[in-house]
Point group: C2
Chain length 374, copies 2
Amino acid sequence: MKLTDLQTDSIRSIKKLQAYMRKNSLDAFFCADIPNVRYLTTFSGTSGFCLVFRDSAYFITDFRYRTQADSHVASCETVIYTGNLFDFIRKKFFRRTAGKQPSIGIEDSLPVGTFGEAESKLTGCKFVRTSLVIEKLSSVKYKSEVKRIRRACSISGSAFDVLTQEDWVGKTEAELSAMLEFNQKILGASKESFDTIVASGPRGAMPHGVASAKDIEDDEFVTIDFGCFFDGYASDITRTFQTGPGVKPALMKIYQVVRDAQRKAIDAARAGVKARNVDRAARKHIEKHGYGKFFGHGTGHGVGLRIHELPRVSRISEDVLEEGNVITIEPGIYIPRLGGVRLEDDFLVTKDGVVQLSHFSKDADYYISTHGTH
Amino acid sequence: MKLTDLQTDSIRSIKKLQAYMRKNSLDAFFCADIPNVRYLTTFSGTSGFCLVFRDSAYFITDFRYRTQADSHVASCETVIYTGNLFDFIRKKFFRRTAGKQPSIGIEDSLPVGTFGEAESKLTGCKFVRTSLVIEKLSSVKYKSEVKRIRRACSISGSAFDVLTQEDWVGKTEAELSAMLEFNQKILGASKESFDTIVASGPRGAMPHGVASAKDIEDDEFVTIDFGCFFDGYASDITRTFQTGPGVKPALMKIYQVVRDAQRKAIDAARAGVKARNVDRAARKHIEKHGYGKFFGHGTGHGVGLRIHELPRVSRISEDVLEEGNVITIEPGIYIPRLGGVRLEDDFLVTKDGVVQLSHFSKDADYYISTHGTH
């Protein structure tokens, strides 16, 4: 069987985890977090576990997923369990460990109920809690992953282009959201990567204003934050456009500040730079114009198999950007009762700077200039 | 402020949890599971915690959700935390507990990382792991909840009706799925309640065949399993329709067996009956016709704030149906390489039987008889 690029890279992921295990004296690592399982195996189903030893790796699932696992999982040996998961694991993997007390890494995300079950069944084992191990490994993307993220960005961009050909004014936020999500799916996305935000007029002051029943009106700003999954990988894009020429000058001014702030952050980002300095570049510009207290969130985050990943790009981030990170840069200004502006794109971090993966006009009048006012 | 029906009922939910706490000698209960938090508070955001004492209850969230919490949460006092959550909880609630060692119930779904944090900060407290406490309470629905599920079912039914007016043949499964999801949103759903399944022809043999790039063809069965959220509550419906008169007789026969099996299960269901006997009623009919080994899943499950809830309606279920449960009844037969059939509706359990909440024709030829063959 010829392996796909993702399958080949999943073998590298297992090796990276095994290197971590050796360094941290772990005999085994148990992973139940679905995006992390996908990273280690390419398995896209919703029920499966990885049990990795220093020189072998197993994907454990139930009979429903046998066919899917057989055709997808190349990095691990697939084993099908029946009955209690940890009874099965004990019998298959930990039968002859008397006196050895193997140490098993578990993830912070594991539910306490599952952990309690593991403890009670795998009595000879020592469990070691770990935090963000696979999340850290997967924050540096393979080319195969960047390719998927780029494609997700491209689908989102095209879907948005189709949306700008529609008449927004008179439609509700929820209608625009439904249309945009439909466009993404028709263009090849499996689904939206999060609940689409459409926040128009004064609602634009809410950074997370999920699309509501409010009508889009003339001469207001509409902020649309959206994305999709393609082959497991996410895009995350925000645009703010005006629906007419009569948007208040105070808001038009904010628009330019946000646009320039995003530029400053883009210019500051490259491998080796502290992520908080990228945040700082955007924030400093916004503060300089007196809007500091209206920018209440971080400048960005990693994106990949999850919509929010490492590295964090915020004031308090301790992360340093690495070559292969894919991050969002998304400054915003939100003024209660008036409205808000946010611009967001996805970027691949390189040693010389960043490569923009998402593409769409950032002119505030894009919608009216291509579509016409009525 | 006049309370909504859901808000009034959330006050009852807190009281039910407090009764459980008294019965089980718990001084407090910490809930971090988002659907459970919603059940206790009506809060629809994605970040918030409940800390319930025997005679008071608190909803703990961060500043981003202050406005939303103030206007929604009636059952708890809202408190806004900053910094470390458990530092905040210790200072605010457990400062004067020296020597008392209050016992705090936690849920099995709590991540071990969060639990570890709680243990290290709330040093004077004793933690008691609980399993499915709020899940059990919320399996008996209030009228306010049934109303929302009924509406979700009604939106899904109308959206499906619109879909049957489209020409299916020649479209891909993914296109049908995108259109159906769009229809649900335009009709008032906030989103789909799970990834829509469209499994046509031989793909119908996969119980969970998420919509693919396969074209829908003439003279095959198409199984569509779909649902939406309305005001937080889910619908879950499956129909299998033929796209032409020439579906293989073996499959047409299976259709009738599944339809009759669903009827048997419906007739068996009422408050006081063991859920596994409802499963038994459907399964016995399918076994009698020789398809027992092709019905590899349970007959149904509860539905509400989650798409899968208590009670379980399966062979191994220990649950007894109660008045106010809302369950799916969804037998199916799946024959490798040939195809499959599943029919699913949502039902309110009463003392006399069940009331069907989802409505749509179950005639295999509904699509071709209303739409015409080409």
